[in-house]
Symmetry: C2
Subunit: 382 residues, 2 copies
């Protein structure tokens, strides 16, 4: 039997991912045409580009989420972020999509900032560092445009007291063997990291409604544990909607990582840097010479600039179709595609920076005194 | 080599404990004559009965605690309780002694109520149960007579937010292998219990002073872990003063357990019950018949009523000496000794109940708004 030449776990993504196979391996569902049609109806025909282009491609119980919505039981959204020194374009994907879902369904969003996990997982980081990164990352998240009265952003180190009683109930149902098998821990793993999955699972129980988690598919194992125990605690199994991985700039394999600087475009990169990174590092599927490119066209499956346009940056389907045809046939050269991408990325980043400047003044609304935040601070979950 | 016929771990005490051997096994220090003399001086000659009688018999760094006291750097006391349905006489031992230390040295006392651990350790308990037990146990602890402005009693589930940042720093320094070896955990242990040692260790770092922990010697392994990591976090190694185990009523082996009802005298037992339990169940070292007892005398080493008098209830050294001579020589019968014990126990319990009735009105001072409690709630440890 041939071995898969890719690997997807919560701690490693490598190789060229075969998403069809991954759906089988993980036992999730492909997002069906009828689900897409229903979301399209609800969004009045303005289906998000990441749904139209199959970037969010897999799910668990998304059909039940839509049923709960139809039947007025409602649902809520949950996503999160392990703070890092800087956020890159890939980090924005789940937040952009979650914000769109919030707008379409008008639901609460909970965003967990896992400053505790980040600190405990990395020997070299201090809690002061991860706290400062948390603050900076939160500004980037706020800049995405969530509804400040329906969104609660919380740092684990701050909200722990309100969560802890129910977190202990979850912890009681998970043992070392399970955590080891699911997250690749071993006997040398520290006890904070062993405990942490209980904290990551808990926000799926913030409300007695079904929770929908938009996330890259490598996070699915966390939610499998949640789904095994949620009902025994009187809560719903978490529903999920899974995205593919935005390929890193410098290769078409794996996922973008913030630990390889040249492989990522940071939200703080100035326009010149963005242009230079894309022109210089973006992995091209084009041919070695202009002549060959004109003759043979580009291999779109491995071309990163093309994929970035496809995943996020060229929302216009007509334009995208044109690029697809021209680039694959050789009418367009890699340099032209890269230039289009650089312009689009810089447009988004300019917009983002403007929003980020205003984010600080909304900070306390999202964390402490907005309508939802206030409710959440008054609640001891138990 | 002969095997020891006793066992002392944080999760099991069995057999007739050889305390001399235990000091060697654990690598602790016997409390020396010069230490006793110094404490006697500080307490103006009123050395506590449990020190005079060698019940608190072993220590780590108690000499350094006394040095810190002499040199005005000060220290603080830390003890705790895993809430249970009812507290028995054995549970009082560390609290009675800690209160005496507080009076003598005029220092802060921190009392951790481990409602989280109790819940996570026992499959059958609910958090509601352990919370209710916590409340009841706290009333018993307050009744012991701690200084309400220098004592902070806290439940883990409530104080976690203030503790959590530094708890994560501790957790990061402990791995599964260490926890497994120290506490007898295994791969089927739940992740809450695996994480919990970080929470139990943390209060030793509540102040930047040396912490003294009065506890039965079976708790020592917890503090060994603390002593391995404390200095790397900028805190002192915890000092300890260790007690022997009050033997259970029904046998002279092991330690009193609240899970065998007849082996314990509960703080809530009415006088008649106390009398009946002692007369009926207390394990006697006396002879089978009055004639034999008159002739051979009692074996004091296994006689539980005698040991209870010796450990706690007969504080008068002259009286104790008399009982020792008369009982061992056969002039006293088991029934007489049991009667003295029953009277003494009932005196203490009557006193305790009176104090406990007034405890509820001081509850919030110890937990929230006394001088020390208030300070502690304003502090986020990090």
């Amino acid at each position: 039997m041939q071995e898969d030449n890719f690997k997807v776990t919560p701690w490693e993504v490598s190789g060229r991912v075969d998403y069809k196979k991954l759906i089988q391996q993980f036992g999730t569902q492909k997002i069906s045409k009828s689900i897409l049609e229903e979301i399209s109806r609800i969004s009045q025909g303005r289906l998000h580009v990441m749904l139209r282009r199959d970037i969010f491609f897999s799910h668990r119980d998304l059909d039940l989420i839509l049923k709960d919505y139809r039947e007025k039981r409602g649902f809520f959204l949950y996503t999160g972020r392990a703070p890092s020194m800087g956020m890159h374009i890939g980090h924005l994907v789940p937040f952009l999509f979650t914000k769109w879902l919030q707008d379409v369904f008008n639901v609460n969003v909970y965003i967990e900032i896992t400053d505790d996990e980040k600190f405990m997982r990395n020997q070299e980081y201090t809690l002061k560092q991860t706290s400062e990164w948390a603050h900076q990352n939160i500004l980037d998240i706020i800049a995405v445009g969530f509804n400040p009265d329906k969104t609660f952003i919380f740092k684990d180190t701050e909200y722990i007291r309100n969560m802890y009683p129910l977190v202990t109930s979850i912890a009681k149902k998970l043992n070392f063997s399970q955590i080891k098998a699911t997250f690749g821990m071993d006997a040398s793993s520290n006890i904070g990291i062993l405990f942490y999955p209980a904290i990551q699972i808990f926000p799926t129980m913030f409300e007695k409604k079904r929770c929908l988690i938009p996330a890259a598919i490598d996070q699915d194992p966390y939610w499998r544990l949640q789904r095994d125990l949620a009902e025994s605690l009187g809560y719903y199994k978490a529903a999920e909607i899974h995205s593919k991985f935005l390929p890193p700039l410098a290769s078409s394999d794996g996922k973008m990582s913030s630990s390889i600087p040249e492989s990522a475009v940071y939200l703080s990169d100035p326009p010149k840097t963005v242009e230079k990174k894309i022109m210089k590092y973006a992995f091209s599927g084009g041919q070695a010479t202009t002549e060959l490119q004109r003759k043979l066209g580009a291999d779109l499956r491995v071309d990163v600039p093309y994929q970035w346009l496809y995943y996020i940056f060229e929302e216009n389907d007509g334009e995208m179709q044109k690029i697809t045809e021209d680039y694959s046939s050789g009418r367009m050269l890699t340099g032209e595609v890269k230039k289009i991408l650089a312009q689009k990325v810089n447009l988004l980043l300019e917009d983002h920076r403007k929003n980020r400047e205003k984010a600080e003044e909304n900070y306390t609304r999202f964390l402490y005194d907005g309508k939802l935040a206030k409710q959440m601070w008054e609640k001891i979950h138990s």
